[in-house]
């Protein structure tokens, strides 16, 4: 069992849990993920590692409550325990030779982009961070990102925080202003990552994206997470989750992500019924 030592509510749907998992914490690197089960009958869900503390032996995850399992996970409190917490999985991100980087987080993707920005910053790289949210109430990790970046631009779709626009537009502006990035790291919804790749492609800037397809084991066993990169089938769990964004078939990725949409809705409804029943008792 893996104990939750800290919980933070970052916005109404996005929560942070710091979990005691010394073996995972010892090895975790930015770009890697874990697979957890909340309880003994639960499903396995992959979540990217948002932070780790090797001394305390803890790993932090940040997630949005979108389905039955994340909803349940969000209802847990410090002191509660998870039945399984497996990792670190996937290939760590590599930043060799990078002097200046743009790190882009779209919505919840900001949580995954954070450890990458932190690592780059720690390596002495000049890091520009651009994060984007639908509105100002959904902004997360603003303070944390400010600490690990040379420049932080937080933008909202509706302009409610004073800066309006999509992350891709801001990036384009920065590039046009003459900022020369060795690498762009873009993490967020697939459509956002695709648009960022479209922006960087004409400039030939290496663009790394982090993919989050459907997955069961996370060790290369099921192949459910297969994605097409550079015309070849890859398993996101063992070959990724980081890939060269200019090579990724985003249309296929987005299509495959819908595979269980109806089932996920049904499961969520079933769970809501159950939780509702408990509440009424």
């Amino acid at each position: 069992m893996y104990e939750i030592v800290r919980k933070e509510i970052l916005n109404p749907q996005v929560k942070l849990l710091e979990i005691e998992a010394p073996y995972v914490a010892k090895k975790a690197e930015p770009g890697q993920f874990i697979i957890l089960r909340v309880h003994d009958e639960g499903e396995r869900i992959p979540l990217t590692i948002a932070d780790y503390d090797r001394i305390k032996g803890t790993v932090t995850i940040i997630f949005q409550e979108v389905g039955a399992t994340t909803r349940l996970l969000g209802s847990l409190e410090a002191g509660d325990k998870l039945s399984d917490f497996c990792g670190p999985l996937g290939v760590p991100s590599h930043f060799d030779g990078v002097k200046k980087a743009a790190v882009i987080g779209g919505g919840l993707g900001t949580a995954i982009a954070y450890p990458q920005a932190k690592k780059l910053h720690g390596l002495g790289v000049e890091v520009d961070v651009i994060t984007g949210f639908r509105n100002k109430d959904l902004i997360i990790l603003e303070k944390e990102m400010a600490q690990v970046s040379s420049r932080l631009i937080v933008t909202t779709d509706d302009g409610s925080n004073g800066t309006k626009g999509f992350v891709s537009d801001i990036l384009k502006k920065l590039i046009e202003e003459g900022n020369q990035y060795d690498v762009v790291i873009a993490i967020g919804p697939p459509i956002m990552m695709k648009v960022v790749c479209d922006v960087t492609r004409p400039y030939g800037i290496k663009t790394i994206v982090s993919l989050n397809p459907v997955m069961i084991d996370g060790t290369g066993m099921c192949g459910g997470c297969r994605v097409t990169v550079g015309g070849k089938t890859k398993f996101a769990c063992v070959d990724g989750p980081d890939f060269d964004g200019h090579e990724v078939d985003f249309a296929e990725l987005m299509r495959r992500l819908t595979m269980y949409r109806d089932d996920e809705k049904a499961t969520l409804e079933r769970h809501e019924c159950r939780l509702g029943g408990v509440g009424n008792a």
């Binding site: 069961i216 084991d217 060790t219 290369g220």
Partner: protein, 463 residues
């Protein structure tokens, strides 16, 4: 006086048209009376040819004689002397090519139902005997086992009996390997696997789940934790795909994924959180036991038509005869000498069909089986909404890629001595599918057993 009936006592089974709608076990097992009657067919012959056919050398005539006289607990103990997983082996071993193939009674009639009797003894024990700790005296030496499938469990059990402190590292959240994620409930109930693993824990074996070796710890780091030897029994978990167009469409599964969702994650139950697509028309590509398992599972999930698509003829099928027979009884449609060329999809990316060509058999190939050759102009489309690829698996690269001094062959299998399991790395032994590529449960168990003996000798030689 032995029972001279030329036929095995019939084993009761669920009716095919009932069982193809549920996930309960196909075979219901012998009653005490049936078991005694079948046991009396054994001649208890002096040269015991059956034992030589068993990779873990179960003392077959001895346990059968105990069943014949109603000493069921002793029969179980007799099997357990050499076999850590009797309830599993009684169900999934290919007895027809092993112990039973050598049985003298098989010369003029059917051999003794050794598998059925083994299963009976195990089931009787698990049902009637209260388990107790069987810890032997500890020798204070630690051995690590990577993987809790048949090879790892056997190796761990044998080492624990010798007094070693054995820790099994399992990547999944549950122990059992292919016994829990691969083989379906209707062939091997998971409650039984769990019970057999509990018996191993009674011996003092510790199981640490969620430990993906190669990621959370490397083999070298395991040694740093004080283990004196490591046995790698990590199986062959990497699924092969066909590399034909359309393989990444929605509705295409590897058999590993399809079966893991159903078996390990219980997606067949209506209250499970893990989903699985319940296809109406399903194509399973391949002709092995895994293909049969996937096809029969798809049928049980409610499919109208399930096709086995296999490029050779029935004679070349690697699946056990019994599995092919059961699949046919349950209504699986066999499209033999048929090879897929592409998977077709609709504009939303969901599978709508599989295009195939017919094959004829040409000259024998390297495997000794006749090579299938495409029949010109035989392209045709089978309408399906789900495709399951069951054409084989190979060992996962996670361990070999993080253990540079561990030699592997061109297929990614670990090079290990056949008699001892010794690898190119000192103190590291390996066995099962990680060494041979996908094979049977019992061969993996045999390898685990030999490695346990070799590990004991290795550690003693160091002292």
């Amino acid at each position: 006086m032995p029972n001279m009936s030329p036929k095995k006592v019939r084993i009761p089974e669920q009716d095919p048209l009932v069982r193809n709608k549920n996930f309960e076990e196909v075979s219901l097992g012998y009653t005490e009376e049936m078991a005694k009657e079948e046991a009396q067919r054994c001649l208890n012959c002096k040269h015991k040819p059956c034992i030589s056919g068993c990779p873990v050398n179960v003392k077959i005539p001895e346990f059968i004689m105990l069943i014949a006289v109603g000493e069921f607990e002793k029969a179980y103990d007799k099997i357990r002397e050499t076999n850590s997983l009797p309830a599993v082996c009684g169900r999934v071993c290919p007895q027809e090519t092993q112990c039973e193939e050598k049985c003298v009674r098989g010369i003029k009639g059917e051999p003794v139902g050794i598998g059925r009797l083994e299963r009976f003894a195990a089931d009787w024990y698990l049902k009637n005997v209260v388990r107790k700790s069987q810890k032997t005296e500890r020798n204070g030496k630690k051995v690590a086992v990577v993987g809790s499938g048949p090879a790892g469990l056997t190796c761990a059990g044998d080492l624990a009996k010798m007094g070693y402190d054995v820790t099994i590292f399992e990547a999944f959240h549950t122990a059992g390997g292919v016994l829990v994620y691969g083989i379906p409930e209707f062939r091997l109930p998971k409650a039984l696997v769990r019970q057999e693993i509990e018996v191993l824990k009674d011996l003092g074996v510790e199981i640490r789940t969620n430990m993906v070796i190669g990621k959370v710890l490397t083999i070298d780091e395991i040694f740093q934790e004080g283990y004196e030897a490591v046995f790698i029994g990590s199986g062959a978990g990497l699924p092969a795909f066909m590399r034909i167009p359309g393989e990444n469409l929605n509705g295409v599964y590897s058999a590993n994924e399809f079966l893991t969702r159903i078996n390990l994650m219980k997606a067949y139950r209506s209250d499970a959180d893990t989903p699985v697509k319940r296809g109406k028309n399903v194509a399973v590509v391949g002709g092995g036991n895994v293909a049969m398992d996937a096809a029969r599972s798809a049928k049980r999930l409610g499919a109208d038509n399930v096709y086995i698509i296999y490029r050779r003829s029935e004679a070349e099928m690697p699946a056990r005869l019994e599995e092919v027979h059961h699949a046919k009884e349950e209504g699986i449609i066999f499209k033999l000498l048929t090879n897929p060329t592409q998977i077709l999809g609709d504009d939303k990316g969901w599978v709508t069909g599989i295009e195939c060509v017919e094959m004829t058999l040409g000259e024998p190939d390297a495997s000794g089986r006749r090579r299938p050759v495409q029949k010109p102009g035989s392209e045709h489309i089978v309408d399906v909404d789900t495709v399951i690829i069951a054409i084989g698996t190979s060992p996962n690269p996670l361990i070999r890629s993080t253990t540079p001094d561990l030699e592997t062959n061109q297929w990614g299998c670990i090079n290990a001595n056949e008699e001892t399991g010794q690898t190119s790395k000192e103190g590291v032994f390996a066995g099962g599918d990680a060494v041979t590529g996908a094979a049977t449960v019992i061969l993996a168990m045999g390898a685990g057993k030999k490695a346990a003996k070799a590990i004991d000798e290795y550690i003693k030689s160091k002292a």
